[in-house]
Symmetry: C2
């Protein structure tokens, strides 16, 4: 079977690691029901996180869910059941993921970037910073999962650091070396795909 890789994604070698990724990409493509475009790497990342959270749920480790995309519904046709015929995407006022782990409230946002050198802060909405600061004040474990697409690496970066950087630094992006210094590389695998809980154990719960 031939795999049609999206533009901008390197043709993989045939190492077992890459074979695994190939399979993963194929299954994700099927699930998405549309052709994978370069911009949809973000969706594959989201899929990895959702599958990780499902793994945590199935193994009774944590209960963390992605919130549905906020949508402003304008028209619904009730002729045959309820079919939404006019609606618009809304700006999220919070982050995408929250839940509970080890009795603690967990809150995070996941973002992927195509930049090899930095994470552009334009990816983060101001109200998300406000939200993260509020939950941290009440005792949450809050962070970002940042996927650096060209490196195929994901970092867990504490929200405390991101919020401080966002508000104090006159810069439009967080340099990669800063992400590496203040963040933690998330171990990738088959299941869970992005094992971020051990990082919480080590750096937030000790």
């Amino acid at each position: 079977m031939s795999i049609h890789y999206p533009a901008g994604v390197k043709t993989p070698s045939t190492s077992p690691e890459m074979e695994k990724k190939k399979k993963k990409a194929t299954s994700q493509k099927k699930k998405l029901h549309f052709k994978v475009q370069p911009g949809n790497r973000g969706m594959a990342f989201e899929d990895d996180i959702n599958q990780t959270n499902q793994y945590y749920l199935d193994h009774d480790l944590a209960v963390i869910h992605k919130k549905p995309t906020p949508i402003n519904i304008v028209k619904v046709d009730y002729t045959h059941g309820a079919k939404i015929t006019q609606a618009y995407f809304e700006e999220p006022s919070t982050t995408d993921y929250n839940g509970i782990y080890q009795g603690r409230y967990i809150d995070f946002e996941a973002k992927s970037t195509h930049s090899k050198t930095s994470f552009p802060l334009s990816n983060i909405a101001p109200q998300q910073i406000t939200h993260l600061k509020a939950v941290m004040k009440h005792g949450a474990i809050a962070f970002f999962l940042i996927n650096i697409v060209p490196l195929n690496e994901t970092y867990l970066l504490p929200a405390e650091y991101v919020c401080a950087f966002y508000e104090e630094k006159p810069r439009k992006s967080i340099p990669l070396e800063e992400i590496k210094k203040h963040g933690h590389l998330v171990k990738e695998g088959y299941a869970p795909r992005l094992d971020y809980l051990p990082i919480l154990d080590e750096f937030f719960l000790k």
Copy 2:
């Protein structure tokens, strides 16, 4: 201005309490942008909870949000911005509300019933019971807010009780006297409209 009360709702007397409610109903009607139907009492209840959570957020007491309604998007027209032209409502796999209070993960579902004598369990999806049991296992404060429409009363009922009733009792609804016995009447007011945090202080956090 005349108010068109929905069928099944008593015409109010002219007591100050009722006048206040009248005003509230009118402002809610404006907000909803459509005629209030009997089934929409649930939306007014939702509105009360959202305004309560906003009050808690504004006063730095808790960060609790309603999750957006899960929607399965089928078609999006990108001609002028992004307009969703075909989408369907999905069954929620979790509860509607979650967040953090006093460092604790909070999770609840809100339901209103038109029955004067009991709360029908058909209002609760099996996966919501599964979800509530999972979060409780991990240390959540979990409950239901049940609005008894004909009595104009709201009760906070611990999820632990509801889950046990759901699974152990061969009954299709929780009788009102059981709700009163195991639940706690939520104080209604102007702001916050449904002050449920004091109940958490007294019965979950002590």
